[in-house]
């Protein structure tokens, strides 16, 4: 169906245009989960590929290095969170922010059971062991989160940039620390405390 003329010769295309893109996304999604769970050094290229039904051989057709995959999967995860897929028309800002807090500060999120977990909370310190490009990807995600929340919070309350910074910092810290706690009760206590506090800060939600 599709022909590309190259050097005056017809060249066949054995795979459909976006087969590779689909595979790439599959690798990104499943890799992010493993990275979040075990850290950059804690997982091997082999494992990452096996995790999505491929072998390490296919890897270098998609990414030039493990570090590049890490960086790309970070951006991918950020774009897939509820935060990033927010549609402002769907629902009032105030209600949406409340739902966001509920989900973000949930047991399921802490346990990594959400389809996509927040890289900010799961990889906070892992990032610092990587190079500047990765750190930069991380802080971009962080500022993105802040400006989205800021945008919708200011529509119904008068909190300023400082308030938002302190709230995002707290909820990210809450999930990161909750992951280290030994039992469900301790985790819930922390999440509940931070949920209440964040709600107050964001205009009583």
């Amino acid at each position: 169906m599709i022909n590309i003329i190259l050097n005056n010769e017809a060249v066949t295309m054995p795979y459909t245009k976006d087969h590779k893109n689909k595979t790439r996304e599959k690798i990104l999604e499943s890799s992010f989960k493993l990275f979040a769970l075990k850290g950059f050094e804690g997982v091997t290229v082999n494992e990452l590929m096996k995790n999505c039904g491929l072998t390490r051989g296919a890897f270098y057709a998609h990414f030039s290095s493990k570090a590049e995959l890490y960086s790309e999967s970070l951006k991918f995860a950020a774009s897939g969170t509820k935060l990033a897929s927010f549609k402002p028309e769907d629902i009032p800002s105030k209600k949406w922010l409340a739902l966001l807090l509920d989900e973000y500060l949930s047991l399921e999120h802490v346990r990594g059971e959400h389809t996509i977990t927040c890289p900010l909370a799961f990889l906070a310190t892992d990032i610092n062991m990587q190079d500047d490009e990765i750190k930069s990807a991380y802080s971009d995600v962080y500022y993105g989160m802040n400006s989205t929340i800021m945008k919708y919070a200011t529509s119904y309350t008068d909190c300023d940039q400082h308030d938002i910074l302190s709230v995002t910092t707290m909820i990210i810290g809450a999930v990161a620390i909750a992951r280290t706690l030994p039992d469900q009760e301790s985790i819930m206590a922390l999440l509940t405390a931070c949920r209440r506090e964040a709600g107050l800060k964001l205009g009583g939600i």
Copy 2:
């Protein structure tokens, strides 16, 4: 000078009683700094030992594995923080808490320039890639921080356990995230926002 009778024979003691302890502490202190900077997987036993003027050969006379050193250095760092060395008689609780926040949320701390950095902030997610004993050491440190702050905050204000949890979570998150930010200005903005917020929460300090 010191004789120990063992199997009816006098045994000489080539090194003074606590030479080994001193060395052990030296290893713990310098290792924690490296672990905090580069993570568990990011640093080798060789580096850790070279960092305090020894070689890898001496290592296994002090610790049975790299993981054990990690766990021990975590506890060591926690015991060495300003928080742990707090003397209640020295200074009024309120003033001391204010100083603590100032130091904790300082540029120097974020840069790792303090003699001892806070393991909670520097290793938050690195911990989750380790085994349960290490996670347990981490959460012990976290709860220790909470109860110390709680103890002194309640002496002059009426905040409850939930308030303390949300404050500690925020300041730990603040330092962890600040470390990922690209420039001093961004770091200061975050630290300042959280310093203000924490001060309000802890009775206006």
